[in-house]
C-alpha cells in the first residue's frame, strides 16, 4: 500500500487548500472525502431532474488573496465575476434598495427611503472598510496561545500594527467598539430607514444562530466584508456554479501531486496515548501516516472520529461545550419559468435578494428559534443561480435557491419531519409571494435542507454551516478552543484546517491556508 506523509480528512474548500499547499511543498498528501465529489459546502449538485443548485453557497463573499495567488486558481479554471449590483433588498412597495459596487449609486437608491441615510452611506462604507482592515491582518495570523504569551508570540502579532499606524488608535478603538455590538446599536449610529437597517443587519446574522439584537453580530458583519474593499454586501459569483471553486482547487491540488480519494469515508482517526497514527476508513482499510489534518468540525473530529475516551477530560469538556446549533435551512425551487419580482428588471436578477423589511422582522424570526420553533416569517435570502449560470436549469426554466433563517436544529416538541419541512417551505413561499405574486404557480419541485439534513449530508455537526458558532467566545484564540487554536490539536500529529478554526466560516480558504503554513512551520523547527 502506498504511504503518505500527510492525510487530509474531508474534501471541503479548506481541506483542498491545505492539501494543495502541502503538496506544493513536496509532501506526499492523500485527501479522503466521504462523498462522491469534493467540495463540501461548495458543492453544486442536481436536485431535480435537469435542475442544478449550489448546495449551500450561491455566492462567494471573499477568497483569501494568498490562496488565489499561490494556488494559481485562475489557470485551473476558476472564474470569479463581480456583479455590479451585489444585492437587492426587497421592499414591499417595490422601492427596493439596490446595493451597487459604486457607493454613490447605492446612495441614490437609498435616497428613496431616506435622504439622510443616503448622505451617510459613503461614510458608513468607508468606516466599515477601515474596520475590516483589522480583520484582514488578524485573519492571516495563527492565533497566539493565551494567556502565556511570550515575546515571540507577541512579535508574531506585529502585523496588526499596520492598520493601527494607518488609522491611529482611534481606528483600533472603533474596531473594538463595533465588533461586540449588536445590529440595532450600530444602525442607530448611522441610519433611520427601517428597510436599510434591516437590509444591512442581514450581514450581521448571515449563517449564524443569533438574531440581530445579539452582541457581536457586529463582528459577523465585519467578517462578511473582509477584502470587500468598501463594497457593502460584496459578492463574487463563480462561473459554472460554486462547485467550480472546489473543482479548481481540486485540480490545483492534484497538479501538486495530491492524491484524492472520494467515496472514502473515515470511520476513525486512530489515536493511542494522545498520538495520532493514521485513519481507518469505513470500508475497514487503515492508513498509517505521519500527520493527519482534519477539515471536519471539531466535534466530529474529536468526539465522533477519535472518541471522548481518548481525550483529556478538560479538552473533552471544551469540545463538548462548543456551540453549534445550526439555524439556517436551504430551500431549492425548480421553477417552470423566470419569476417576476415586483419592480426588479430582468437584467438585474443575477444578484442576491434579501427579505428583511426591518431589524425587528429579523429579530422576530430569531425569537421563534429561541423557543425551538421555526420562524413563521423567516429571513429569506435568495438567488437565481440559473440566471447567473444558464446551465443550471433546462432552457427557459429556472432555479431559485433560498437560505432561510431561522430553522433551529434543536426543536422543541417536534422534529425535522417532512411535515415540518413542508411548513418551512410554505413559509418561504408565502413570504416570497409578497414580492413574486404568482410564485407558487411556478414551482415544479422543491427540496428543503434542514440543519438535520445538512448534518447528515455534509457531516456538519448540528447543521452549523460555520463548523461552530461565530460568536466572540469562539473567535480567534478561542476558536475552536483555547488549547487548539493554533491549527494544532492537543493530540500529537493531528491538525485542524476547517472553518471550526480561526477565522471561521465562509468559502475564503483562510483556515486551510493558515493551517498548511502552521504545519510546515512546525516541520522546519
Amino acid at each position: 500500500m502506498e504511504h503518505y506523509d500527510i492525510i487530509v480528512v474531508g474534501g471541503g474548500v479548506n481541506s483542498l487548500i491545505t492539501a494543495a499547499v502541502l503538496g506544493q511543498s513536496g509532501k506526499k498528501v492523500l485527501l479522503v472525502e466521504a462523498q462522491e465529489q469534493v467540495g463540501g459546502l461548495a458543492s453544486t449538485t442536481e436536485f431535480a431532474a435537469g435542475y442544478k443548485c449550489n448546495l449551500v453557497n450561491d455566492v462567494v463573499k471573499w477568497v483569501d488573496p494568498r490562496v488565489m495567488k499561490i494556488l494559481d486558481l485562475g489557470s485551473y479554471g476558476l472564474e470569479l465575476t463581480s456583479p455590479d449590483i451585489v444585492r437587492i433588498a426587497l421592499d414591499i412597495n417595490g422601492q427596493h434598495i439596490l446595493f451597487h459596487r459604486n457607493a454613490d449609486q447605492t446612495a441614490t437608491s437609498i435616497s428613496t427611503h431616506s435622504k439622510q441615510d443616503a448622505k451617510a452611506w459613503k461614510g458608513f462604507t468607508e468606516y466599515i472598510n477601515n474596520l475590516t482592515k483589522f480583520l484582514e491582518k488578524l485573519y492571516e495570523l495563527t492565533p497566539p496561545k493565551l494567556p502565556d504569551i511570550g515575546l515571540k508570540e507577541a512579535l508574531s502579532l506585529r502585523s496588526m500594527l499596520s492598520p493601527v499606524i494607518k488609522q491611529g488608535t482611534r481606528g483600533l478603538v472603533n474596531f473594538m467598539r463595533v465588533a461586540p455590538m449588536m445590529m440595532p446599536e450600530l444602525m442607530d449610529e448611522w441610519f433611520e430607514s427601517e428597510l436599510l437597517r434591516g437590509a444591512l443587519s442581514t450581514a450581521g446574522i448571515h449563517h449564524i444562530t443569533q438574531g440581530p439584537f445579539s452582541a457581536a453580530t457586529g463582528l459577523n458583519l465585519l467578517h462578511q466584508h473582509v477584502y470587500a474593499k468598501g463594497v457593502f454586501h460584496n459578492v463574487h459569483l463563480v462561473k459554472g456554479g460554486t462547485g467550480n471553486l472546489a473543482g479548481a482547487l481540486r485540480k490545483s491540488a492534484q497538479s501538486s501531486g495530491v492524491k484524492i480519494r472520494t467515496n472514502a469515508k473515515v470511520k476513525s482517526i486512530d489515536v493511542a496515548n494522545y498520538i495520532c497514527s493514521g485513519v481507518t476508513l469505513t470500508k475497514g482499510e487503515s492508513l498509517a501516516t505521519e500527520k493527519v489534518v482534519s477539515g471536519l468540525d471539531p466535534r466530529n473530529t474529536f468526539i465522533n472520529l477519535i472518541g471522548a475516551v481518548k481525550l483529556n477530560p478538560r479538552f473533552h469538556t471544551q469540545i463538548r461545550n462548543l456551540k453549534f446549533r445550526g439555524s439556517a435551512a436551504r430551500v431549492h425551487f425548480a421553477l417552470n419559468s423566470l419569476p417576476e419580482i415586483n419592480g426588479v428588471a430582468k437584467h438585474n436578477m443575477g444578484t442576491v435578494f434579501s427579505v428583511a423589511p426591518s431589524i425587528s422582522y429579523l429579530e422576530k424570526a430569531y425569537d421563534a428559534s429561541k423557543y425551538g420553533q421555526i420562524s413563521e416569517n423567516p429571513y429569506v435570502e435568495f438567488t437565481l443561480p440559473s440566471v447567473i449560470n444558464p446551465g443550471f436549469a433546462p432552457y427557459g426554466k429556472h432555479v431559485l435557491s433560498a437560505t432561510v433563517q431561522y430553522a433551529p436544529y434543536h426543536l422543541r416538541g417536534q422534529s425535522w419531519t417532512k411535515g415540518l419541512k413542508d411548513q418551512l417551505k410554505n413559509n418561504v413561499v408565502r413570504v416570497l409571494e409578497n414580492y413574486i405574486p404568482n410564485f407558487s404557480t411556478l414551482i415544479e419541485a422543491a427540496v428543503v435542507l434542514s440543519p438535520v439534513d445538512l448534518e447528515e449530508k455534509l457531516g456538519l455537526t448540528e447543521g452549523n454551516l460555520n463548523h461552530g458558532e461565530m460568536t466572540l467566545d469562539q473567535f480567534f484564540f478561542m476558536r475552536p478552543t483555547m488549547s487548539s487554536a493554533q491549527y494544532k490539536s492537543p493530540i500529537e500529529n493531528l491538525y485542524l484546517c476547517g472553518p471550526g478554526t480561526h477565522p471561521g466560516g465562509g468559502l475564503h480558504g483562510t483556515n486551510g491556508f493558515n493551517a498548511a503554513h502552521e504545519i510546515l512551520k512546525r516541520q522546519r523547527r
Binding site: A272, N273, Y274, I303, A308, V309, N312, P313, R314, T317
Partner: protein
Amino acid sequence: MSYGNQFTAHTQLRLSPFFERTSKLNESQEWRRWGGYLSATKYDLVHDNEYFAIRTKAALLDITPLQKYILEGPEAQHCLDRLVTRNIGICKVGQVMYTPWCDEAGKQIDDGTVQRLGDQKFRITSAEPNLEWILQNASGMDVNVVDDSETTAALALQGPNSRAILNTIDSDSLDSLKFFWMMEARLNDIPVAISRTGYTGDLGYEIWMDPKDALAVWDLLMEKGKPYGITPTGLHALDMVRIEAGLILLDVDYVSARHAIIESRKSSPYELGLGWTVKMKKKDFIGKKALELEQARGPEWEFVGIEIEWNELEDHFRKVGLPPGLPSLAWRISTPIYKNNEQVGYATSGTWSPILKRYIALAHVKSEYAGLGTQLDFELKVEHFRKLTPIKVVESPFFNPERKRSCPL
C-alpha cells in the same frame, strides 16, 4: 443513669437510616457533619472507650455518609480503568481495591474503594461526591452510572472481635474471607454484603445493606456483639485510629484537585504516599502522562509519618512547670515543620496514640527530607509560646497488627 434527660430536636441535615438508634445512644449528643449527614463524634461522654473498642474489642460505626456509585455495563471495567490509577482489570469478582483517582495533570481528586460486584458491575466509594466526574468520563462508553449513596446503607464493624461477632450471626463463616475481599451473606436472613475493609487499620468489616434493613442489622449486631464488647463508635475515635493506620483523609490531608482553587494545593498520589497504587503498566488512565513525568523526575513532596520525640517534648513543658501537653483528640490544624529554621513541610493531622504511647502525625515534607529517620523540627505551642521540638520521619502505618490481614486456619 440518673440524669436521663430527654429532648427532641429538628435538623436540616440528612439523617442516616441508623439515626433512630444512634441518636438514642449518643449520650454526649455531639455530632459532626459528614457529607451533609448528622454523624456522631462520640457516643460516650468521652471517646476513650470507643478508641479502645476499636483496638481491643469491636466497634460499630455508621458509615452511610460515604459516597457510593454503581457502575454497570459491558464497559464498566474499562470506564473504571480509565478513571482510577490501579489496575481494575485484575480485580476479581468479590475483590475490593483501594485506589485514588486523578485529573489529567495527575493530581488526586479523591480516593476510595472499588468493589467488583460482578463481571460487569462495580461499586466505588468516595469521600466527596464524584458523580459529575464519573459521568463525564463515562461519556461515550457503554456503562450505566447510578448514585448508590442513598440506596445503600453501610456499617463498619472493626476490631479484633469483629470476626467472631459476625461468625455468630452469618450463615457462612468469615474465617476464609481475605483482606480486601468481600462476600454476600445473610444476617438472620437479611441479605447484606460484607467486605473485609475499613478505615482503622485493624481487623474489620464493612457491611453493605438496603436502608430498609438498617435498623434490623444494627440491632442484631448490637445484640450478638454484646458479649464481645461491641461499642457504638463515633468519628473522634475513628480519626485517631486512622492516623495510627497512616490512612489519609480528603480535605484534611489533601485537597481534591477538583476543588483546589490554586495549583499549590493539589497533590499527586506520589506526593500522598500512594505511589504504589499508580500502575504504569496499565494502558491508559486519566493523569497517566503527567504521572509518568513525575515518576521520572521524582515527586517534589512526600507524605510521611512523623513522631514527635518524647524527651524534648517533655523538657519543653517541664521548663514551664507543666506535665507534657498532649492532644486529647486527633488534630487537623496544619502545623509547620522545619529543618534548620527553614520550613520544609507541614503536618496535616496528628494524634497521641494511647496504644503505642507515641505522639504521631502525618506530614507533607519536601522529598529530600522524607527519608526514614530524618530529623526535623516541629512547631509546638507551649503555654502560648511557639517552640520547635525535634521529630523524626518514621515508618507508617504506625500501627499495623498481624490480625489485620491474617485468616485463622
